[in-house]
Symmetry: C2
Subunit: 437 residues, 2 copies
């Protein structure tokens, strides 16, 4: 099958990320989608050619977005300019031209989505916008498809990373709002004009979209209550803690008996909730469905590659929607049957991991030296060690090791040798350790 | 469009749940899928007719599964019998008959998936199995579609609720393994024969499937290293805590340079990781992609309605795959354009929520009485109260209230009245409180 040609609008942070992902993971993507995906035409007013990996694979780069959306060879338009104009005009023109559209533009969708979707419907094309809410987290897909059997009851999300970074720093380091905001700006998390993040406008865009897909109501940004985090003081963070709560900037949408709530504001939530422990720039959305109960989705809500992950997923979704044989649309094992991998599954002996070891050691000098000598000879470094006092009357003490990562084969040998020592009582209890980072 | 007819195999816990969800949420589902979905033919050896909501909507119930899979009117077979036989024969016969199949059967997919998918491919049908991994969490969809642009690096999951319940109780309540297992059996979480849960076999089925969809390798259950939680002792849980870790029963799959790891075993993980705080019977899967970074998916991994949520989502996915006009497959706002809701968005004044209030009160008798009288008159109950000592030299003290839920209109009135009191210095700081339960 011939590669599918896409046109890209914008080569900024997210646009550059999309080029990188499509180029770096080209073969993986083709093996999954069943078809190669290329960017044949791109438009940007200015861009940093050296910073974008894979830029040389784009056939043509122009500064005229309309040249891209009018290009008859292009089937899918990827809009990553942001803002209202010319993004809106370009998207509407693309739709008129019967091209599918993928966009990360939450401001555009929240504000003009009703008009854009009506045009798409009329022209028989898809407008995909996974990246518009919570960046790399596939939350649109989760709500629209994964939870499609549920009556959604409510959803609540940390959907602005900058705001969450500020609140996390205020709590963890006892810092003031203004002080952390300055740092966020220096780190590039917050814009020079932080209004969109700090006053909740960005979160309101995302929440408006979430509310519509949860409850099937038209987009109504103007009815979304929006309150920022600018008035939160350090002492509120401290008192909340004292009461067993954390302050998070949440977007909440709920179906009550009488209507639908759409509100963005700082919120105290119980500290024991998983979402209360989502810190720094990370995002998370908690969705309550009548059948499934609570589900939570966590990940990076912004940034070049995470956002590009969602953008490219949408592009592949569109490509798959054009596939008319259902059995190939989403392959059973994610990759097309003729593109499966023959990478072998490793024996457990060949796996690298860290270990927790617990043993009962005779309480006499030199025993620990023997054990550590065995570990050292097999290249096993010790990261932490606990040795407990013997219980009254006992002549054995429990010793616990945390080791660094090592190949399991060596650990098996070490345990065998340790268990053969006279000064070890019983076996060695081994539990594997993973840092998951 | 005429309703699509499905055939259901099995009316047990999950089968009953599927009947309930399809019946209870029938109109919601039709508004999303663009088509009504009915169960026209079901088969079960025995079932509890009184326990299943919506059973009367099934046209025909037989005890012969083959009658259902051979029924020419049925387009989708929902296999919820579990086990290997006759589930395998029924699924293969359905596929031969060119029917799409939805199944929650992880043992069947992990063991015979390669054969089943090859048959599906040959016959041009879909076999969907979202419910086979992590119950109601749409993790298959997240990996196969949401993260499709990524090279997956690794995935690690708490994918057996019974095991997680046991480990959570051992830690929270200082209980022994055997003791908690007995309770889990009494609560119905663990089977009378707990082998599948406790020895990790159930988790190995799920991990085998996750590994295949993450890396595009054939299903290889026999190569999945499987270790249960039966040897974990109370003291290990305590030492792990002391070292800053939690013990979780994880399924881990990772692409290393040399091959793919597939392993299920108890694992120490840093206590600060979000997944370390997933407790009780809940499941969670952490997936690391090269573009998106870490993402986490959390929810109920078992149970009648949560599993049915995934089963019915798969049925709708199949129905959508049969839709050839791309713009209607997954509607932009989740519901078909002609089935949108006109439920109004509520004014913020009409929202019910709880509140945190902080005010500076003159340090003299009777002030608190005035404030609480205002709250009481407006029907606002106080849940918690903090009053601090005045700072040296200050004649104001900070007072913090946590209230019960109340309509915002009343709270606005209360704040207005409180701020008008002479004995209040400055404004009342109000932050909303949500329990998210």
């Amino acid at each position: 099958m011939a590669p599918i040609k896409t046109g890209l609008l914008g080569l900024g942070t997210v646009g550059g990320g999309a080029v990188t992902v499509l180029s770096r993971n080209a073969s993986e993507i083709a093996r999954r989608a069943g078809r190669e995906i290329v960017i044949s035409h791109a438009a940007a007013k200015e861009y940093d050619a050296d910073a974008i990996h894979g830029l040389e694979r784009i056939d043509r780069i122009t500064d005229d977005g309309f040249a891209v959306v009018n290009d008859p060879e292009v089937e899918i338009i990827i809009e990553l300019i942001g803002g209202y104009s010319p993004a809106k005009e370009l998207v509407l023109r693309a739709i008129e031209n019967k091209k599918h559209v993928v966009t990360a533009n939450k401001a555009l969708i929240a504000t003009h989505g009703n008009e854009i979707f009506a045009a798409a419907q009329e022209n028989g094309v898809i407008v995909a916008f996974e990246a518009a809410v919570a960046g790399g987290i596939p939350i649109i897909k989760a709500i629209r498809e994964g939870l499609v059997a549920n009556r959604i009851q409510w959803a609540a999300g940390i959907i602005n990373g900058t705001g969450n970074f500020i609140l996390t720093e205020m709590r963890d380091k006892n810092r003031d709002f203004a002080d952390v905001l300055r740092e966020a700006q220096e780190l590039g998390y917050a814009e020079a004009d932080p209004t969109f993040d700090v006053e909740g406008i960005d979160a309101a865009h995302k929440l408006t979209i979430m509310g519509s897909i949860a409850f099937g109501i038209p987009l109504q940004l103007e009815k979304t209550y929006t309150e920022g985090i600018g008035k939160i003081e350090q002492q509120d963070v401290v008192y909340a803690d004292e009461l067993g709560y954390r302050i998070k900037h949440l977007g909440i949408t709920r179906h009550t008996g009488e209507g639908i709530e759409l509100r963005v504001h700082p919120t105290l939530i119980p500290a024991r909730r998983l979402i209360a422990n989502v810190d720094g720039v990370m995002n998370a959305v908690l969705v309550q469905g009548d059948a499934v109960g609570p589900t939570l989705y966590y990940g990076a809500g912004a940034g070049s590659l995470p956002t590009a992950s969602a953008v490219v997923a949408d592009v592949i979704d569109v490509v798959r929607a054009l596939t008319t044989d259902p059995e190939n649309r989403v392959p059973h094992l994610a990759f097309q049957p003729d593109a499966m991998s023959d990478v072998p599954v490793l024996d457990m002996e060949d796996v690298h991991t860290a270990y927790y070891l617990r043993m009962q050691v005779v309480d006499q000098p030199g025993v620990l030296a023997k054990v550590t000598a065995i570990l050292a000879k097999l290249g096993i470094s010790i990261k932490a060690l606990i040795q407990k006092e013997p219980l009254a009357g006992a002549n054995h003490v429990p010793v616990i090791f945390l080791t660094q990562r090592v190949i399991e084969r060596n650990m098996n040998t070490a345990i065998e040798q340790i268990e053969a020592l006279d000064s070890i009582n019983g076996g060695v209890r081994r539990i594997r350790v993973e840092s998951l980072d």
